[in-house]
Symmetry: C2
Subunit: 644 residues, 2 copies
């Protein structure tokens, strides 16, 4: 019964929220930071190591470049954050890269930005969950064969929490995020104090490319620069997720834009403190990446070594690193449903993706994300190393497009005089100062992220980046096809030039397909007689006995069958729907062309939902087939079987 | 479009066969042997080894018991085959253990026999496919991580072939079955010739249990006997599948029963020649089972060693062993759908399982089997070693029950005088001679198979047999529940004591839920006005703007809305189906209790099937919810969106 299904849903998801509670479900800055920043903050678990791994290809000596490169990445992060704060303030209704691009660069670039971000949000979920599960199976190797089911279970849990509502998931996710930040900051702080003694020892020495190759062989200047660029590109993994807040402005308590901008600044400060702090301490401790232990773990171990209670801090950081890696997936759960609702509102995705569910979250998007991310997990067998080459491309493309959009917008604002306003397609812009340097920063940001995108494509193409390069245009094509369909439907349904005489006539006939004469069919026959004085009962006979049986029964109940014509069709196959559909189509198209004809289907429905699969689904299948006939009205006359 | 879906189905499954072609689709003895005997013949790939592996627990010396035990198993096989030939001749409509048990022992034992066999047929498919895939991944270890997907693919292919029809699958499966038989018989024959020289060397020596334990420690007589029994039970794996023909008598060309009985004899001769031949040659060659090479492979290698062209024969046997192991699964595809159609005809399984599909095979059963066998593959991670303890239990239970049934039947026949006949529930029995010894053989067979069942349970309980011991009674319970439901439905629908005045009145009201006013809803409104002069359009408003908009549109088209009452319901949640259902339920139960009310649903249907997911499925969901209301007639008024 649907009522009991409802109860199950309520138990799982919680009581529905009325619309007016929407404002109550909004996030304060504390929760918003946890919800949106778990991805960028979690990248500190591996961003430094990503740079160092590439530098090691040059030689151990090249590790001296880690800190300068990290500073360059941090500079880029600041640029991007600056650009997104501008976006938030100028587009307070949210939408981030998609909206900015749509408003300033046009439809096609905006669809590319949208498609790129959607693919990346899916990967955020798959990669984070797989990485988290790997952390667990590393600790408990007995669980390794169950990596895929465990990852799917993690996705199920994340989906469930997110379906329960934004504020509730914010509360759940806040604790591990903050405990991770506190643990790492404490480690970095202790590290800085302990290092102080080492400071005097390090004397910068000028380095030439030739000296750096630790294996004795010289490398060309070109290769050296190329590897530095790759190390830089690897470090930009720290950028993923920093755009999340720009999509979710409307999830903040009012004043939305201001709170979102402030949260973005706090996020930038925290994430960059961690990143530079970790990189600095790691450089000073001369740690070298190795396969068996992560750099973060090495650093924490070295710093807490011999410290009273140090072991507690060590495990603290380890445990919350693992947790925040899984929780980073939650950023995908925030972003994907919001962005897809923006695209759905504009008609580029199925309309049901724009609706909020009982708990005021975008159910359609959440479930779609969960399904696709699960498929990615299965296809890649929960191996996040294999997924990584696909990751970050989409983010970089959207950064570049979005900042180029802001670059153009700033150009238009520069022409405004004080007091003037500019109405774009989606927002209203007022005069402001400093557009020239804002414009320059956005232009530089766009160019740098574009170069990073090209480096990412060049270095990871064969390992999987090609999938994204293929998928994004295909998605854009799908968006356009969907939009085209909706436009067409709207035109077709429009009441413009509506003329009541165009409405089809209703033919005086009712066809009742029957398989027997029982209380269910007798009710349908009776309803049909009420509708029309020309009722035809149609029976498909596959054997002589069945034909005789129905004729005898027909004669036995004259009070039911009087005035009704019994039409028996002999048929030699077992698929009785085909002759039924053919006969109905014949009546509709040959006998009453241009009119609506009526088919009355007797349907008996067991009271218990679980019993429904015990009955021939002939009625359901017939309805499905007749649906493609424009001029057939279908009437279901139910007969409920009550349980004894 | 349903039409193009149809074309796809025709391409995959083939053109439908008319009913009269059923006789043409029947199997000749040659094909029947391949279809039904691939399981018992394929057991020769491992049955000898199964006995030897248990004997090795006693010691290498105990391998001398292999041949005597194999002869005992062969004796049991002959007993069972004899019993089933009696079954076929007395129950020419087929049905095997289920029918015999139902007719002679009553409902409950027959349901146990049916449930036991169904579980075993599922395992036949899962175990055979998993074993075949293991053979492939042993040869190509790179494929091992893909064992599960490969196994699922094999099931998909088997399903596809079986959906195309019995005769076609018979043709496909005949070739590898016969080539396997020819290869192994040739090997055994060459082996016998080569062994002749060894014959003089073997002198039987009396053996005591104490001498046999090769590791020096003595074992008790009790343990010795217990291990011999276990070895015997392990050898009974050769019995699985020999009952297949008894279920499928109606798949044979007429005279059905005679042809089936003859095929059964041929099958017994072939299977036992192989079994005794392999066991004899293996014993004479003093081969010992080891993990890295199967006994069959060892035998073939030894026999063909140094023979001109011997390598060809060796690979011949290896390749067709692998193929027949996978094809053994096909016996499950023959048996499961047939047996489930018998159960469905008696009302113990959903009725759609009794119907034949377009190609005259039991589609419902084939697809159900494929789904359950796939789930077993996934749960057991395609590891047939883990599944084996569950296997053969069901077969043994059904053997024991079926032979006990024949034992009782023979007792009744013994009382007949020449010329007399006996009508049981399902068949007619004539006087015959020799009932006394036939009865004795059936009794012995029933007792021996029951003992084997107990041994199997005792030795494999912890490793997985408990799953079957749990599943079979649960299945019996499900059969009974389904039967109870169908009985109840038949009673509820029955026309007995039918009185036309009991039919419900049809209330003069038509409710039309609308979301907008467009060409789709206007058609529905028009149809409703034709039905009744009391039409209510119901609109769920979630905001003031939407309310205003619908009121304005309503006023704009008086030619449509005149005489129709617009009822607007304000609602604060997004789930608009709840207030709609509540309102309709209110009208049905409070305003017109006891009468049928009518709901007209405007439904717009995109012409292209793929576009349907782009539309809010509100109409479909509303119909689903209203289905549980006995007194609501639902009318779908379609509006087809044509593609541009």
């Amino acid at each position: 019964m649907s009522i009991s299904l409802h109860n199950v849903k309520r138990k799982l998801i919680g009581e529905p929220f009325p619309n007016h509670l929407e404002i109550h479900e909004r996030l304060d800055k504390m929760r918003a930071l946890a919800v949106f920043a778990s991805d960028p903050i979690s990248s500190n678990a591996y961003a430094t190591e990503a740079i160092m791994s590439v530098l090691l290809l040059i030689g151990a000596g090249a590790l001296r470049f880690t800190l300068p490169l990290a500073l360059a990445v941090a500079g880029l992060v600041l640029l991007v954050i600056f650009s997104y704060i501008q976006t938030i303030l100028h587009y307070p209704d949210g939408g981030g890269a998609y909206t900015v691009t749509k408003d300033n660069l046009g439809e096609t670039p905006s669809l590319f930005a949208g498609a790129a971000l959607l693919t990346d949000y899916i990967l955020t979920v798959s990669v984070s969950v797989a990485a988290g599960i790997r952390a667990i199976t590393s600790a408990q190797p007995a669980l390794r064969p169950y990596a895929i089911p465990l990852a799917l279970l993690a996705i199920l849990i994340l989906t469930w929490i997110n379906l329960r509502g934004v504020r509730e998931s914010g509360t759940i996710f806040a604790i591990p995020t903050y405990l991770f930040v506190v643990g790492v900051l404490l480690t970095v702080f202790i590290g800085l104090i302990r290092i102080t003694g080492f400071f005097g020892a390090s004397h910068p020495v000028p380095i030439t490319p030739e000296e750096i190759a630790s294996n004795g062989q010289t490398i060309t200047t070109f290769l050296f620069i190329w590897l530095l660029l790759r190390a830089f590109a690897a470090g930009t993994t720290a950028l993923t997720g920093i755009e999340a807040i720009s999509n979710g402005v409307q999830a903040f308590k009012p004043p939305e834009a201001k709170n979102a901008a402030k949260t973005m600044v706090i996020m930038g400060v925290i994430a960059m403190s961690l990143f530079i702090g970790i990189t600095f301490v790691v450089s000073q401790l001369h740690l070298i990446p190795n396969e068996s232990e992560s750099i973060l773990s090495q650093m924490t171990r070295t710093v807490t070594n011999g410290l009273p209670g140090g072991i507690v801090l060590y495990y603290w950081v380890q445990i919350f690193t693992m947790l925040i890696l899984i929780l980073a997936a939650n950023t995908g759960y925030q972003d994907f449903p919001r962005l897809s609702s923006f695209l759905a509102k504009d008609g580029y995705l199925p309309r049901w993706m724009q609706n909020r569910g009982d708990r005021l979250v975008y159910n359609g998007g959440i479930v779609t994300l969960a399904i696709i991310a699960s498929l990615v997990i299965i296809v890649f067998r929960a191996d996040e190393i294999a997924m990584l080459p696909l990751y970050a491309l989409g983010v970089m493309l959207s950064f570049s497009l979005s900042q180029f959009g802001m670059f153009k917008l700033m150009g238009r604002i520069a022409h405004l005089k004080p007091g003037e306003t500019l109405k774009t397609h989606v927002t209203t812009i007022h005069y402001e100062k400093g557009t020239r340097w804002k414009r320059a920063l956005n232009g530089v940001g766009s160019a740098v992220t574009f170069v990073v995108l090209l480096i990412l494509i060049a270095t990871k193409f064969v390992e999987g980046a090609w999938i994204i390069i293929l998928a994004v245009p295909l998605l854009v094509f799908a968006f356009r096809t969907i939009k085209h369909h909706y436009n067409h439907v709207a035109k077709d349904l429009s009441m413009q030039n509506f003329d009541p005489s165009q409405l089809r006539d209703i033919a005086n006939i009712a066809i009742v397909p029957i398989s027997d004469i029982h209380r269910g069919t007798s009710r349908a026959l009776r309803y049909a007689c009420r509708l029309s004085d020309h009722v035809e009962a149609v029976y498909i006979s596959t054997s002589e006995e069945s034909k005789k049986r129905i004729q005898e029964k027909w004669a036995k109940y004259p009070e039911l069958t009087q005035g009704v014509h019994l039409h028996i069709i002999d048929y030699e196959y077992r698929d009785i729907l085909t002759p039924l559909e053919a006969y109905i189509a014949y009546i509709a198209e040959e006998v009453y062309p241009g009119s609506l004809i009526t088919v009355v289907i007797p349907e008996f429905v067991p009271e218990r939902f679980s019993a429904r699969f015990l009955h021939n689904q002939t009625a359901t299948l017939l309805r499905l087939r007749l649906k493609s006939h424009d001029n057939v009205v279908i009437i279901d006359v139910p007969y409920l079987i009550r349980e004894a």
